[in-house]
C-alpha cells in the first residue's frame, strides 16, 4: 500500500523554517490550542501552468487538533479533495502547490522531543514522507474498489503495510494484528482470504478503514468514504468511526458533500466553495446558525424527515466553472442576498467571535448600511446539547 502512494515530484519549494510556537494562529477551540497536529497556512493549489492555470484551492488556512474531527464540506469542484491530496503530497500533475505552508506536528506538544518533531510537509523528501505515511497519516478514499489491489487478497494488503513499517513483527503477529483490525470494523477473520471483488461495497470500505488504522496513525483523512454506500451501511460506518475515534483517539479530516452528516460527526466544519473557505464554525453552531448564504443554502437543500412538506428551493444556478470564476465573491451569481459590492470585491475570511467562527461574506462586515438578513443573524446556541458535546481528550475506556 505504501508503494502505491508514490507521488509526482513537486516543483522546487524552498523549505521554510517553522517556529512551532509563534506560528500558532488563533485556534478555533480554546482548550486544544496546544494540541495542533496539522497546520495549513495560506495554502494554494493550481491545476495547469501559466495562463491556463486554474486555481483549485485559494489561500486556505486550516488547523487540525489532536482527537478532533474536522469536517470539510463542499460540492464537486470546491477543492476539498485537492486540498487534502496536496497537503499529503499525493497530488499528481498537473496539480501544483503554488503557495502556503503545511506542517505536521508529530510529537506531543510541550514535551522536549515533541517540539522538535515537526515536519514541513511541503519540503519533506520522499523518504521522510514514506516514513510518516500510513504510520502517522493515513487516507481512506471514496472508491475502495480502486484503492484495493484487485489481484491481491485482503490479507496481503495488511501484510504489506505491517511488513514495511513494523519490521520486528513476525508473520504470525502480523496475522493476529490483521484479524484484530478486521474485528474492529466488524468483519470476520475469513475475509482475509478474500479478493476485493468478493466483498460488498460496505465491506470493502470497512477493510480500507481497518488498513488505515493498522499502524495507529495520529491523523486519518477520509475522502468521501461513505458517498458510494447506501444509507444503512453509511450509518453503521459513521457510528463505527465515531466509536473508534473515541477509543483510539486519532484526529480525522472528514470530507463529504453531505453537510447534515458532518454536523453529526464533526467537531468543527469548514465549508468550501470554488476553492475558498467561506465559513468555518463548530459543528452545532454551523447547523443552528449558519452565517454564509451558501451554508444556509446547503443546509436547506436536503429535504427534512419531519414536519410539513413545504417546497424547498435549494440554491439556484450551477456550481461555478473554476476556469471562469465570477469576479468578487464567487458565490454572488447564486446568492439571494448579493449586493453591488459582492460582484467587485472578494470578501476576506473574517473572524466573528472567540469560538473560532469565521465567514467570508460582505454581509458580516459590520457595515451599518447593510441589513443582515434575519436567517443569517440567528444567535448561536449558548449551550450545546449534552449528547452532542464531543470530547477532544481521547477516552481510552472501551465503550
Amino acid at each position: 500500500m505504501s508503494e502505491s502512494l508514490r507521488t509526482e515530484p513537486l516543483p522546487s519549494l524552498s523549505p521554510r523554517p517553522v517556529d512551532s510556537v509563534t506560528s500558532r494562529v488563533a485556534a478555533p477551540v480554546v482548550e486544544t490550542t496546544d494540541d495542533l497536529i496539522l497546520e495549513v497556512k495560506d495554502f494554494s493549489v493550481d491545476y495547469g501552468w501559466g495562463e491556463e492555470a486554474v486555481r483549485a484551492v485559494n489561500h486556505v488556512n486550516l488547523n487540525v487538533h489532536r482527537s478532533q474531527v474536522l469536517g470539510i464540506a463542499g460540492e464537486s469542484g470546491s477543492g476539498k479533495s485537492t486540498l487534502v491530496y496536496a497537503i499529503t503530497r499525493l497530488l499528481r500533475a498537473p496539480g501544483i502547490i503554488t503557495g502556503g505552508e503545511a506542517t505536521l506536528h508529530l510529537g506531543e506538544r510541550g514535551t522536549a522531543q515533541g517540539d522538535d518533531n515537526v515536519l514541513d510537509l511541503l519540503a519533506a523528501t520522499q523518504r521522510e514522507l514514506r516514513k510518516i505515511r500510513w504510520s502517522q497519516v493515513s487516507i481512506v478514499l471514496q472508491s475502495a474498489l480502486n484503492a484495493l489491489d484487485p489481484v491481491q487478497r485482503i490479507s496481503s494488503e495488511f501484510e504489506e503495510i505491517l511488513k514495511t513499517h513494523r519490521r520486528d513483527m513476525s508473520r504470525a503477529e502480523r496475522r493476529v494484528r490483521a484479524v484484530e483490525l478486521l474485528g474492529m470494523v466488524g468483519l470476520e477473520e475469513d475475509r482475509l482470504a478474500r479478493f476485493p471483488h468478493e466483498l460488498s461495497g460496505g465491506q470493502r470500505q470497512r477493510v480500507m478503514i481497518a488498513i488505515a488504522l493498522a499502524l495507529d496513525p495520529q491523523l486519518v483523512i477520509m475522502d468521501e468514504p461513505t458517498t458510494a454506500l447506501d444509507v444503512v451501511t453509511q450509518r453503521e460506518i459513521i457510528n463505527e468511526l465515531h466509536e473508534l475515534r473515541s477509543t483510539l483517539g486519532f484526529a480525522m479530516i472528514f470530507i463529504t458533500h453531505d453537510l447534515s452528516l458532518l454536523v453529526e460527526l464533526a467537531d468543527e466544519i469548514v465549508v468550501m466553495y470554488a476553492g475558498t473557505v467561506v465559513e468555518r464554525a463548530p459543528a452545532s453552531a454551523l447547523y443552528e446558525a449558519p452565517r454564509h448564504p451558501y451554508t444556509l443554502g446547503l443546509l436547506s437543500s436536503s429535504p427534512p424527515l419531519h414536519g410539513p412538506r413545504n417546497e424547498l428551493t435549494g440554491i439556484p444556478g450551477s456550481p461555478p466553472d473554476l476556469s471562469r470564476l465570477p469576479s468578487g465573491c464567487s458565490f454572488h451569481p447564486r446568492c439571494p442576498y448579493a449586493m453591488e459590492r459582492c460582484a467587485t470585491e472578494e470578501p476576506p475570511l473574517r473572524t466573528l467571535d472567540d469560538s473560532g467562527r469565521s465567514v467570508a461574506c460582505w454581509l458580516h462586515d459590520d457595515d451599518p448600511s447593510v441589513a443582515l438578513p434575519e436567517v443569517l443573524a440567528r444567535a448561536t446556541p449558548l449551550r450545546v446539547p449534552t449528547s452532542q458535546t464531543k470530547t477532544f481528550v481521547p477516552t481510552r475506556s472501551a465503550s
Binding site: E75, S76, G186, L187, G201, G202, Q203, D230, V231, V232, T233, Q234, R235, E236, I238, N239, E240, H242, E243, H257, D258, L259, S260, L261, V263, E264, L265, S284, Y287, G297, L298, S301, S302, P303, P304, L305, H306, R309, E311, L312, T313, G314, I315, P316, S318, P319, R334, P385, S387, Q388
Partner: protein
C-alpha cells in the same frame, strides 16, 4: 395538488425477474436462483409520483428496467393504458414513446462526442418529427426543463455542462417524445447537493402541470418523502411496505423502513450517533427462509424465521409485509405468498 382524477397509465402485476447463477461448486453444482424482483405489483397514475425506496441490490433498478421493457420479466404482466402488453415480445416504438427512462449518471447517459443538439434530435426523428420542425421541438424540450437560452445548450458538448444541467437534458430528451410515464432511476444521486432540489422540483412540476406519471427510484428516503404521492419500500426484491402520502415515513410499520429512516443523517436528533448500534447488522446475509429481513431484524419473532410474511393492512391502505402486524389486521393476497412458499413459479 391535482384537480383531475388520476387514471392508471402503466400497471405491473406480479412482476418478477429471477436470475440463475451457477453455484461455485462447479459444473454439476446446484443452480441458485437470485430473485432480483419477486412478485411486485404497482401502478403509475397520471399526475402522481410513485417512489420506490431501497438499498443497493434491493431490485429497484431491475424493476425500472422491466417497466421500460429493457429487461424481460420472468413472470408477471404489464398493462399500458388498460391494454395488456405481451411481455415476451419485443418492445415496440409505440411503447417506447409512452414510457421513458432517465438514468442515474447523466455523464454516462449522454453521448460525449456529439453536441446536445444531436442527443435531443435523434429521439425526435426516430419518433416521427420531420427535419423541418425538429429544431423547434428540441428547443421547446429544453425550455420545458428550464434550460435557457436553449440555443446555447444545443450547441454545447456534454463536457461543457454541469451534472445538474446534463440531468435536465436527459430529462428533456426523455420528455421530447411526449411520454405518459417517466421512469427516473436515482436521478439525483450523482448530482451536487445544491442542484438536487432543482431537479426534484422540476419532476414535481412536470407531474403537476403535464399530468405525467412518474416512478421515482431512490435510496434517499427523505427525498421520497419530499416528492412522492405513494411510496414503496423494497427489500431483497420484494415490496415490504407501501403507503400513500408521508404516512410511510412518518409512521413506518416495517422494521426495515424504520432502520432506513433511523440511518438518515439528522442533526436535529443528537441521539443518532450516540445510540449507534455497531452490531454490523447490514453485513448479515439476506435470509433464505421465512422473512428475508429476519437475519437483520431487531424485532425478529420465531415465525419470521420459518414462514414468509404476507402483506398485512395496517390501516388506510398502508400495508407492510411483517408478522408483527398479524394481530387484528387482514392479510392481503395470501394465496400468492402460499404459492411462492410451495416453490413453484408460474411461467407465462
Amino acid at each position: 395538488m391535482t384537480t383531475i382524477e388520476p387514471t392508471t397509465v402503466l400497471e405491473a402485476r406480479h412482476l418478477s425477474r429471477h436470475f440463475t447463477q451457477r453455484s461455485t461448486a462447479g459444473w454439476f453444482g446446484a443452480k441458485r436462483v437470485n430473485r432480483a424482483v419477486d412478485d411486485v405489483s404497482l401502478h403509475l397514475d397520471t399526475g402522481r409520483v410513485t417512489a420506490v425506496v431501497g438499498e443497493s441490490g434491493s431490485g429497484k433498478s431491475v424493476l425500472a428496467r422491466m417497466l421500460a421493457r429493457i429487461v424481460t420479466p420472468t413472470s408477471g404482466d404489464l398493462v399500458l393504458n388498460e391494454e395488456p402488453i405481451p411481455i415476451r415480445s419485443k418492445r415496440t416504438l409505440q411503447y417506447a414513446s409512452e414510457v421513458q427512462l432517465v438514468l442515474q449518471d447523466p455523464f454516462a447517459s449522454i453521448n460525449p462526442v456529439h453536441r446536445i443538439r444531436h442527443s435531443l434530435e435523434r429521439p425526435l426523428l426516430i419518433h416521427g418529427a420531420t427535419s423541418r420542425n425538429v429544431a423547434e421541438l428540441s428547443e421547446a424540450a429544453l425550455r420545458r426543463v428550464s434550460l435557457e437560452p436553449a440555443s446555447r445548450f444545443l450547441d454545447s458538448y456534454p463536457h461543457e455542462l454541469s451534472g445538474g444541467q446534463l440531468q435536465r437534458i436527459s430529462i428533456a430528451r426523455a420528455l421530447c417524445v411526449k411520454p405518459k410515464v417517466l421512469l427516473a432511476d436515482e436521478p439525483i444521486s450523482m448530482l451536487d447537493v445544491s442542484v438536487r432540489l432543482g431537479v426534484l422540483n422540476l419532476l414535481r412540476g412536470l407531474c403537476d402541470d403535464e399530468q405525467l406519471a412518474i416512478l421515482y427510484i431512490t435510496h434517499d428516503i427523505a427525498s421520497a418523502r419530499y416528492l412522492a404521492d405513494e411510496t414503496l419500500v423494497m427489500y431483497a426484491g420484494q415490496v415490504v411496505e407501501q403507503s400513500s402520502g408521508t404516512t410511510l415515513i412518518d409512521e413506518p410499520a416495517h422494521p426495515y423502513t424504520q432502520l432506513l429512516i433511523a440511518s438518515v443523517p439528522d442533526p436535529t436528533d443528537p441521539t443518532r450517533l450516540a445510540s449507534g448500534n455497531s452490531d454490523h447488522r447490514s453485513l448479515a446475509p439476506i435470509a433464505d427462509t421465512g422473512c428475508h429481513f429476519s437475519s437483520r431484524c431487531p424485532q425478529v419473532l420465531d415465525v419470521c424465521r420459518t414462514s414468509e410474511p404476507p402483506m398485512f393492512d395496517v390501516g388506510d391502505g398502508h400495508v407492510a409485509r411483517c408478522w408483527l402486524h398479524r394481530d387484528g389486521t387482514e392479510a392481503i393476497d395470501v394465496s400468492l405468498s402460499q404459492r411462492r412458499q410451495g416453490g413453484t413459479i408460474t411461467r407465462k
